[in-house]
Amino acid sequence: MSTLFTVDAVRKRYRGAAEDALGPVSLSVEAGRHLAIIGESGSGKTTLSRIMLGLLPPTAGVVQYRGTPVHDLRGQAARDLRRRVQLVLQDPFASLSPRMRVGDIVAEPLRILHRGVPVRTRVAELLAAVELDPSFARRFPHELSGGQRQRVAIARALGPRPEVLVADEPVSALDVSVQAQILRLLRRLAEHEALTLVLVSHDLGIVQNLCHTSVVMHRGRIVEFGATTELLADPQHPYTRELLASVPALPQHHETIGKIL
């Protein structure tokens, strides 16, 4: 199995901050695996995901994708990384430009990264993949519900046929019933497209059905790492236990959580 991401001793301190927001953190992501990065807000999980995508420069350390550092990439190498790694953000109300039609939003990565692809048919194909009618292409984001918007965001991310999908809190802005639908969709797509998934979340309940491995972050550092099932059944670090205790019990999780408590 090949290693996609190698994060080596990455630290981040924001300008003017007294202490590091992140790190040092090291981890690796294997192809085909589903990795969860878990932590409360301020734990550095989003910072880590941005650095892994090369969207934020680290203060120290290196992130490599397939052996190439992701920072300061230019030209073909940059396009290559963007094509292989795509991102879905938390708030589908903020992540879709209010002035673009859904069709153009989904088409944007294709137009930049896959010139020459017949955009219209590909957009219809992508909307179908996220269970939306092709007629949605003509709509504006403000005409869509939160769940529909997040489907659009996922369709957009899948456009360039990425190897890795990084999803930063992809369902936490959504209603609970919609959350389950989007998670099912993500799981189906991940299987169907053989995606490697990096799921950033504060919610262990969301992660457990989707991710093989989990990393627990606290105050910018990784405090626990392991198979998600083991982590849930037998948390080692006190912070992980605390996090587990704070998960609101969804009906289908009653059994597992009952055991933990």
């Binding site: 995508l53 795509q86 930049i112």
Partner: protein, 275 residues
């Protein structure tokens, strides 16, 4: 456009501006009398069928002067706003795109320029370059350009640090593409509304400068100067001041209401859900 007419402010704004534009266009082709013909014997005539609004001290037809004055008002408002946009928008982009230190310096510079009264700037320019409608309009535009820069720069910043701009970066978009496809369209409504307000402000500033004698020189009719020329009559026939004053109110109110209407319909939060 239809949405603008459905909006109450927008509708009234469009109507008022349309009246002024119609007056300006009409005056290009036809006026009841030549507003420049002086006839001292016919000075201070009361309104009649021939002279709808009477005549001024030199016997010139007031109604014709007001029609022609609309050209000056609209022309100088458009020129001032064009100058404000041509200088202010690039300045906003520079403030937004430069490193923090330089950006902070530029912002303080803009603050100082805002503090400098436009009227005094106009007086300086007019005394150096001679009194003309266009000098006054350029001066007003210069003063307004820093206001444009100051209000548009945060809008650009907001759009540039948005999630959709981040996703565009993650899709490999260049910063130029993000500016063109994401930042400008999303900051666009603020820019349009701001420029409409500047139109109102410029029309008022032109009237003010002309009133003070720093704007449009004689004999070209200008609402501000007409107002000044009518002034001696304020104790005896105050109604003759009403017409030029009302014209100024109409154009300023018209542009302001148009701006309000545009703001309402361009904001996605107040926009109707189906286009």
């Amino acid at each position: 456009m239809i949405a603008l007419l459905r909006n109450p402010s927008g509708l009234v704004g469009v109507l008022l501006v349309a009246v002024v534009v119609a007056a300006a266009l009409t005056s290009l082709l036809w006026t009841p009398h030549d507003p420049l013909i002086v006839d001292p014997a016919a000075g201070w005539l009361a309104p009649s069928a021939s002279h709808l609004l009477g005549t001024d001290a030199l016997g010139r037809d007031s109604f014709s002067a007001l029609l022609v004055g609309a050209q000056v008002t609209l022309g100088s408002a458009l020129l001032a706003t064009a100058v404000a946009a041509a200088l202010g928008l690039p300045l906003a982009a520079i403030i937004e795109l430069t490193p923090p230190m330089l950006s902070a310096f530029l912002q303080r510079f803009v603050d100082i320029m805002i503090a400098f009264p436009t009227l005094i700037l106009a007086v300086i320019l007019v005394t150096s370059f001679g009194s003309s409608t266009w000098t006054a309009a350029v001066a007003v535009g210069l003063g307004a350009s820093v206001v444009v820069a100051r209000t548009v720069a945060p809008e650009l910043r907001r759009a540039r640090s948005s999630d959709y701009a981040l996703l565009a970066t993650a899709a490999g978009a260049s910063s130029g593409r993000i500016m063109l496809h994401h930042v400008l369209p999303n900051a666009g409504s603020t820019i349009v509304v701001r420029l409409t307000q500047i139109l109102a402000g410029s029309a008022l500033a032109e009237a003010g400068l002309s009133y003070l004698g720093f704007g449009t020189p004689t004999p070209t009719p200008s609402w501000g100067r007409t107002l000044a020329e009518m002034q001696p009559q304020i104790m005896t026939r105050p109604e003759v001041l009403l017409a030029p004053a009302l014209c100024i109110v109409i154009v300023v109110l018209g542009f302001n209401l148009l701006g309000d209407g545009l703001r309402d319909i361009l904001d996605p939060r107040t926009r109707r859900s189906t286009p």
